[in-house]
Assembly symmetry: C2
Homo-oligomer: 317 residues x 2
């Protein structure tokens, strides 16, 4: 991985202007995505308008882990928000206010940081998210070689316009397993930063009582599915049914991760063809695929992928 902001110093860096000027610059870069205080940046806390907050999530973007020099700064800023939007989508929620915590080296380029924030702001405006506050901390000197460090944590709130949060729990044996879009090859294709969070689809699905459980696919379907699987069950997945991105193999579709698609359980007794027709009327351009069912744990049908093959990205190992 190419180091972040390597070896720069002096004019044009964060360290050349200091924290107060940097905060002013960030407010300018965020523009209308950032309301004035006390609703936004500039006080000890942001004061939120009275409105029902029901969801809360946090996801980071760390240089060298979640993006690198191959991703434009604007796309990185958008990805920071979109990762969190995908979590709100996975509950069937609507996004609300956000705060951002930055950790960066003083040699971080202001031009880079401006583009990052303009990308973040554009994504925030698109999804009616208000960036209401944040914090900037200096990264410890972690290298003698002038290597930089950059991480951003975004915490996002959400509401539940339909009143219902569609959680990971609730699937039963016999339920059909569906996934939106295509899986695999996210890194190679650039999908990992180009994806669109499935907010409209998630909210639509949460309104359907025959959808029993849902999550987004971030660590790879194979691993993520385990969290959706009811006790005593196993997912019976038909490999040939897996919707794969062009060039992606079945193992890649199962384990690459960063798909940011929705996987959910449709009640066994639901009218599946009727459900699919309704989905396609609402979202004509979104692929929807039944990939299998939850079967009793020891009776996974021959022909389905063996549960041991369902693995995803294991962090920190």
């Amino acid at each position: 991985v190419k180091p972040f902001a390597p070896g720069r110093s002096g004019a044009g860096t964060v360290g050349s202007i200091g924290e107060e000027a940097l905060i002013r610059a960030i407010r300018r870069w965020l523009g209308s995505a950032s309301p004035p205080p006390p609703a936004g940046i500039g006080d000890d806390c942001a004061v939120l308008p009275p409105s029902p907050v029901r969801l809360m999530t946090v996801d980071p973007l760390v240089y060298g882990r979640h993006f690198d020099a191959a991703v434009s700064p604007a796309a990185a800023g958008a990805k920071l928000l979109k990762r969190n939007l995908s979590d709100i989508a996975a509950m069937g929620g609507r996004p609300g206010a956000a705060v951002v915590g930055l950790v960066l080296s003083p040699n971080t380029s202001l031009r880079w940081l401006e583009r990052f924030h303009r990308g973040l702001a554009a994504a925030a405006r698109k999804h009616s998210v208000a960036i209401v506050g944040g914090d900037i901390a200096q990264a410890p000197d972690c290298s003698a070689a002038g290597t930089g460090y950059f991480s951003a944590h975004l915490t996002l709130l959400g509401s539940l316009p339909g009143g219902r949060a569609l959680t990971r729990r609730g699937a039963r044996i016999g339920d059909r397993i569906y996934v939106t879009g295509v899986l695999g090859g996210s890194l190679a294709s650039g999908h990992h930063f180009r994806f669109e969070p499935r907010l409209r689809e998630g909210a639509w699905l949460a309104k359907r009582r025959d959808v029993r459980a849902m999550m987004d696919v971030s660590d790879g379907l194979g691993k993520d599915l385990r969290a959706l699987t009811p006790r005593g069950a196993a997912p019976a997945i038909w490999a040939e049914q897996l919707p794969r991105r062009k060039g992606a193999t079945v193992p890649q579709a199962l384990s690459d991760g960063e798909d940011y698609e929705l996987v959910f359980a449709l009640a066994a007794e639901a009218d599946a063809p009727g459900f699919e027709r309704a989905f396609h009327r609402a979202f004509p351009r979104i692929r929807l695929t039944e990939i299998g069912r939850f079967s009793p744990a020891r009776r996974v049908p021959a022909g389905a992928l063996p549960p041991s093959s369902l693995r995803g990205y294991e962090h920190l190992r």
Copy 2:
């Protein structure tokens, strides 16, 4: 600064157990401070109970910046929360739910991390804060020498039981400036991690209509006061009035930072002696000091500190 978790590897580290086991361990360490899903850790978002959320703030704790090896892991975990509680206190709010984003090296010791989380949990229980979610990301390899990296971002929500958020804006020329506690020497004395956030005092002050503006002292009174100063005014501070920690000089009281005390403006026309009596009845053990007034910018009285002497800690420079 002694490096974080230097050179450890293998058994007893985060990397030896992987993310899923680590999340289970963190839930165990947090105990009753962390409700079960969907209200807590374990789904795409935390589902908050319907309750009025009006405040949102984020503050980090970065090893080498906000703490080091001289601070016990339990005290570091508590400090992460208390920094944010101080921001809620500064608005007169009551704390609610929190999420935590960690970035750490795989060589981080599990024992250290357990103590950190147990300290965080104890502080959370004390202040009725629920840790409802979070994220763990691996730090990029930033050194060939095995130096570790650790940062934690905590985002905290709050409510406004009295209906009013006491912001930084609202002070007028002539208003008296008060500060709680004593200032300076926070690092040397250990106050920077031993402090108690002024939540009760902040809520009490927000109920008083004669208190016009408030903030907490985190970057040093000299710098922070600028944010409280109305347009066209300057703070006229009497150096001999500054309540200093034992051994702290006037410049240290003005610029050390990390005091986590409250500074606020009392209306010029208020009954100051009556106000002070009421405060002392409510908080007999908390020192309260009138340190000066907001005067017209070009008429700072002789004997007051010159505005140019009011400086605090400037980050990133």
